[in-house]
Amino acid sequence: MGIGGSTIDSQDQNGSPFNEHFFGLVNFGNTCYVNSVLQALYFCKPFREKVIQYRIAYSQRIAHFKDTKENQTNTENNHDQTTTSLLKQEHLLNCLSELFYSIVTMKKKKGIVQPKKFIARLRKDNDAFDNLFQQDAHEFLNYLLNTCADILKGEMQELNNINKKVKLNTQNHKILSNGSNSKKGQKVIKNGSISSQTSVNIINDEIGESCGVGVGGDTTTTTTSETTWIHDLFQGTLVNETRCLNCETCSSKEENFFDLSIDVDQNTSLSHCLQEFSNMEMLCGECKYYCETCSSKQEAEKRMRIKKLPKVLALHLKRFKFVGMLNKFVKLTYRVVFPFELRLFNTTEDCADGDQIYDLVSFVVHCGMGLNRGHYISVVKSHGYWFLFDDEQVEKIEVSNFEDFYGLTQDTNKKSETSYILFYESRQS
């Protein structure tokens, strides 16, 4: 802490005061894979904002709920209970927002935070992480994003159900307003303080429509569940185009992604690896393609291109290759250079803003040689400066030191500190 604090202090004195909190995260025994990802995400501004918004909305929900409870002590006990369970339930997103919120609201600019609750929750929720071993940071990121998205989806659904129930039972409007408020909480916060009355109206309309359609409630649920803010930020769409070499039929399949896992090669650039990712691939031999037209397995050409670019592009470099002979993962320390600014070459023609420009905001670095050994740190950008987060420690670093994170051009005994997950944020025009 002392080290980290001092550099930032001096930075402050140098006359570049910025309203940012730099808090190291305590390592609870090989939890640096969590810490590094959390820091990287924390400094991914849109994500942080959403999480904080969630936290605020959450507390408002509770406040509203209390009000409701006080005002109507004798109405609808069972409904209250469901809401209570919804609100009181501790989950990963909850803990995450709590953690972020605590950092944001710190009086000091620097320090250490113990993500105790979050780690505990994580270990409780997922057995894979419930140990003291080093885990794959990418796996954790994946888990975190998916879980949060699921939680949000679940909440929306639940609230929808409540609202529906409320509507169907023709409950009194007060409860509805509370319920809808909590549902729309995030959106309300966004615009500052919208009066509860307007939001009630909106919700009423929405629900009215869905009820009017009859089964419309379900459609509303599905559409809203697709667009949680996690999806909004991280989800992109890949198009998997396959051309059967026998019948020349082209088929394309879309799939969504939260992050892209790309193969790495020695002495390449990130954009080259991305390009390779989308290059034409032959499906032959054992991995023949089952062609619907031919009704048989055929050789085919396949390529994956990006149809929808996400707001936050998370790129995972596949630095761990499973070596069958050794029955273990071997780390590829290849030097893969990554620019601060990125555009993708592998978008489809119909991709909106296919030449969207991305800025590097943070990245997770893996140090050491093995998948289950070594250490994770993260490097983040804040107000034009770069900071290195190593568990509790925070340091300002110079861009000239980034050479170390690209990788090694030859295998030496040198400690390898290689970039592992990179977060690029789309630049608003």
Binding site: D265, S269, F340, D355, G384, V399
Partner: protein, 924 residues
């Protein structure tokens, strides 16, 4: 082998593409056993490093015997910046064994530089650079001499004696060391001036013959008399980590084992990052040394041509400035141990790493140095090197693309003399102050002489001014407080322009002129943005018409400096590009351009523009009859040619029309260990892809201005004073700055757009107007009367529609206006065509033209041609950092300290390869 393949196969997952096996997987070397995964060498695929490759010229071959290698690291006597360096001139044992260096080779790129001492060049470059026309000088040698004398007399009437004048002239030319004063005196007793001048001119002519006939049977006597080895000496310098090496570079054909190491400098604590040879100072110092030697040897006049170059320090001088990763600068003479100065030793000026260092063209004493902090400083070796106080800079100018600061640290007059004595080219003594201040960068013989004489007579004239190093600080970019690393900068062949590439992805070309603190010019001419990421390297074509950059988008970008637009991009590298270089000896052979095809593709007609074509053609034809014939031909075959192609057919610069084709060879090396060759041919450079028509159109019209109406072609038509730092007097300074401020303020008010960075134009307000009202229908309507075919282009792209129509209109009155009017947009309203439009609109449209470069700062991928490399080969085990072309070979340096020589195809060198462009030395 099998295991590694298995590993790869197992690892290739659903998302993986398997064709990556080909080259990139294997790059690391075999010294991999120390890996933590014993038994498995993932990288142990056979390293397919190429040792030869074909282009259509033939086979390019690696010459292993000419491999320059970094020395072993156990340097016995490293030098710290403060002490004298240690010359290690022992014969080199090129050991490749010691590869495990303690140095992080990641961060210090190897750069190469070549220097050729040929007898003629020593004379030629010194004079040709200073002379408009060498042949005139020679043919009318006596005349010119008389003219010089007259001028001198006029300029300095106090100097009455002609003989004395001559001596002064000679001294000034030679910049003799102060220690050689005795020799100077000898000179004054010897042959008379005119004879010497004649002789020098003769050498100049001989040199020209060299160029023309490519060393083939030269009949000049000096050539006969001299063996090749002695008449020229080729040196190569490269840096690696803590060392700077100077080698004698043997020609490829000689088959000699190379490696006569001349000098090796080792630094104790710092890494060298870059260096540059001062050609002017080197040549003049060497010239003076040679002349002195000849004098001392009592050579007769006829023997005077026989100049031998050996590597003996007494005969040569090689002035080098080197930059280091902690910010220091070392200026030294390779051949003189005592001439060595360090700058920024105390890191008071800048603590960051030096990224690039370059001597100002045609100056003895000035160099620019860039830092990763984003600042560029101007140093003068004649001023005090060190100061114990950090310099304080005061801003004298700022706009949204750069800012200029002067060093206003309190100056101490007394120590100039002492500092001068320690400078490597100790040419001036204390009274050289004045001379220096007046020493223009153009450095023509006459003006130079004049200045020196002035300095002799009026020693006390400007003693009060005593600037300190660094003289200037330049900050490139919109915000001085947050600037980006400057990765490289390069002066144009003509020396007038300075191209800077930086980490923000911008290429910025400035016109740069520095005389002294009161007379300087720094003006943004144009800029370009990479597709994404920083730009890492830049180079000029030898004719100064094109720039090539490479960067973090893995692409080379060729920028047309005349049209001020991106000419094409090239994709082929798998990683960042570290160095690009034009091959000045590449020539077009057996390459047939099929213009007709291209024309037939675009057979839409435009009557009005055909009319303009006619006008253009007329002008052009008067100049060039050859062109006329070509034009006729194309007329016959494709009468319905579209405007754009007509124009572009017409626009090739003069040198191009001689060959009737445009051709450039570009080579790039990158961090993927690969070298790529790119052929820039006419059909690429006169690009015609769907969307880019529009933009090319306007810039073509811009180009017309320059081509026809300016003697010294200025790439930008109307440049306001607001962007020019041109300060003669302090009064003017303040007034100019204030006007600049006003303009700047108004600009700020009007537009804060990023793209305004590159609008070095008078009417910034109108420039921004354009940007805001791109889609303003009213503009469209006014211009619609001018053009008829605009609707066609609308389908192609939405944004530049208006731009398109405006370009049309601009083009129209550009062609019809009298020459005088073209360069000033306001005057263009006088043209008949313009009367049909209201005047404000016309002005706007002119500004469309001028802002077009801003608009097209970073064209989209499909808006410019995308070319593929001619060849793309892995030729090294490590990242390649530098490529330099020689007449008979090219040299590439890699990060691990190897400098390899690759022979050109058909190596009986020089016979087949001539200079493509005679005009290579002419400026734009």
């Amino acid at each position: 082998m099998t295991t590694s393949l298995a590993a790869l196969a197992a690892s290739s997952t659903a998302h993986t593409t398997s064709n990556s096996l080909m080259s990139t997987n294997l790059s690391t070397t075999n010294n991999q056993k120390a890996n933590s995964s014993p038994g498995v060498d993932i990288n142990d695929l056979t390293s397919d490093i190429k040792t030869e490759f074909y282009t259509r010229e033939g086979l390019w071959k690696l010459i292993p015997s000419l491999e320059y290698v970094k020395q072993t690291q156990n340097s016995s006597n490293p030098v710290s910046p403060n002490s004298n360096y240690n010359n290690n001139t022992s014969q080199n044992t090129s050991s490749q064994t010691n590869q495990n260096l303690n140095i992080n080779s990641n961060s210090d790129p190897v750069k190469i530089s070549l220097f050729n001492f040929t007898k003629s060049q020593v004379f030629r470059d010194f004079y040709i650079n200073t002379r408009e026309n060498v042949k005139n000088l020679c043919h009318e040698c006596l005349k010119s001499q008389r003219r010089e004398k007259k001028r001198l007399n006029k300029l300095n009437e106090s100097e009455s004696n002609d003989e004395d004048n001559n001596d002064v002239i000679f001294k000034s030319q030679m910049y003799n060391d102060s220690s050689d004063e005795d020799d100077d005196n000898n000179w004054s007793d010897s042959d008379d001036y005119s004879q010497r001048l004649c002789r020098l001119c003769k050498v100049n002519l001989i040199r020209n013959d060299f160029i023309d006939s490519s060393d083939s049977e030269s009949d000049d006597e000096s050539k006969k008399n001299n063996t090749k080895s002695s008449s020229s000496l080729s040196l190569m310098i490269f840096n690696y980590a803590r060392e700077i090496y100077t080698y004698e570079s043997t020609p490829v054909s000689s088959k000699a084992e190379l490696k006569n190491i001349i000098d090796k400098k080792t630094y104790k604590t710092v890494m060298s990052t870059c260096f540059d040879i001062n050609t002017t100072a080197t040549l003049s110092n060497t010239l003076s040394l040679q002349l002195t030697r000849a004098q001392n040897a009592n050579l007769s006049n006829s023997d005077f041509d026989r100049i031998n170059f050996s590597t003996s320090p007494s005969q040569l001088s090689l002035i080098v400035a080197a930059g280091f990763n902690k910010g220091e600068i070392h200026v030294f003479d390779v051949f003189k141990k005592d001439a060595s100065v360090f700058y920024n030793n105390l890191k008071l000026v800048d603590k960051t790493s030096v990224t690039c260092i370059k001597w100002l063209p045609n100056t003895m004493n000035l160099f620019l140095v860039s830092y990763s902090s984003g600042n560029i400083y101007l140093y003068d070796v004649n001023y005090q090197a060190q100061s114990s106080v950090a310099p304080t800079f005061s801003k004298i100018y700022q706009n949204d693309s750069f800012s200029v600061y002067t060093n206003n640290s309190s100056s101490t007059q007394s120590n100039t003399t002492s500092s001068n004595s320690s400078t490597p080219n100790t040419t001036q003594n204390s009274n050289s102050q004045t001379e220096l201040l007046n020493n223009s960068s153009s450095n023509s013989l006459s003006s130079h002489t004049k200045k020196l004489i002035l300095s002799n007579s009026n020693q006390q004239q400007q003693q009060t001014q005593n600037p300190k190093n660094p003289l200037l600080k330049l900050n490139i970019g919109p915000d001085p407080n947050y600037s980006y690393c400057i990765n490289q900068f390069e002066f144009s062949p003509c020396g007038k322009y300075l191209a800077i590439v930086s980490q923000d992805g911008y290429l910025r070309v400035f016109s740069f002129f520095y005389k002294n603190n009161q007379e300087m010019q720094f003006q943004l001419k144009c800029s370009m943005k990479s597709y994404f990421g920083g730009l890492l390297c830049v180079t000029w074509s030898s004719d100064g018409k094109f720039l090539a950059t490479g960067g973090e988008d893995d692409m080379i970008t060729v920028f047309n400096f005349i049209d001020m637009k991106v000419a094409c991009r090239g994709r082929g590298h798998a990683s960042w590009i570290n160095s690009v270089s034009f091959d000045p000896w590449a020539k077009l052979s057996n390459f047939n351009f099929n213009l007709k095809e291209e024309i037939m593709e675009n057979d839409e007609s435009d009557d009005e523009s055909d009319l303009e074509d006619y006008h253009l053609k007329k002008q052009e034809l008067e100049k060039n009859l050859e062109k006329l014939e070509l034009e006729k031909k194309t007329k016959i075959t494709a009468p319905k040619k579209r405007t754009i192609s007509t124009l572009s057919d017409f626009n090739p610069a003069h040198s191009f029309t001689q060959n009737n084709s445009i051709f450039y060879r570009l080579a790039s090396v990158g961090q993927d260990n690969q070298i790529c060759f790119w052929d820039l041919t006419e059909d690429v450079l006169k690009e015609k892809p769907n969307r880019s028509r529009i933009t090319s159109f306007i810039q073509q019209s811009q180009y017309q201005h320059h081509h026809h109406h300016h003697v010294s072609v200025q790439p930008s038509v109307n440049l306001s004073q607001s962007d020019t730092v041109s300060l003669k007097e302090t009064k003017e300074k303040t007034s100019l700055v204030s006007t600049a401020k006003n303009l700047f303020a108004s600009k700020e008010k009007s537009d804060n757009d990023d793209s305004s960075i590159s609008t070095p134009k008078s009417g910034t307000l109108t420039g921004s107007f354009f940007r805001r009202h791109k889609r303003n229908p009213s503009i469209n309507s006014t211009s619609s009367q001018v053009t008829s075919t605009e609707a066609k282009t609308k389908s192609s792209k939405s944004t530049p529609i208006v731009l398109n129509s405006y370009k049309k209109s601009t083009n129209l009155f550009t062609n019809l206006t009298p020459i005088e009017n073209v360069s000033t947009p306001i005057l263009s309203s006088n043209t008949p065509l313009d009367n049909s439009m209201n005047s404000s609109n016309s002005r706007k449209s002119q500004n469309v033209a001028t802002t077009s470069s801003a608009f097209n700062l970073c064209p989209k991928l499909d808006e410019v041609p995308l070319i593929e490399p001619l060849i793309c080969k892995r030729i090294a085990n490590e990242r390649l950092t530098s490529i330099v072309f020689k007449k008979d070979c090219f040299l590439v340096a890699s990060q691990d300290g190897f400098v390899n020589t690759w022979a050109r195809p058909g190596r009986n060198l020089s016979k087949k390869n001539k200079f493509v462009n005679e005009t290579s030395s002419t400026c734009l």
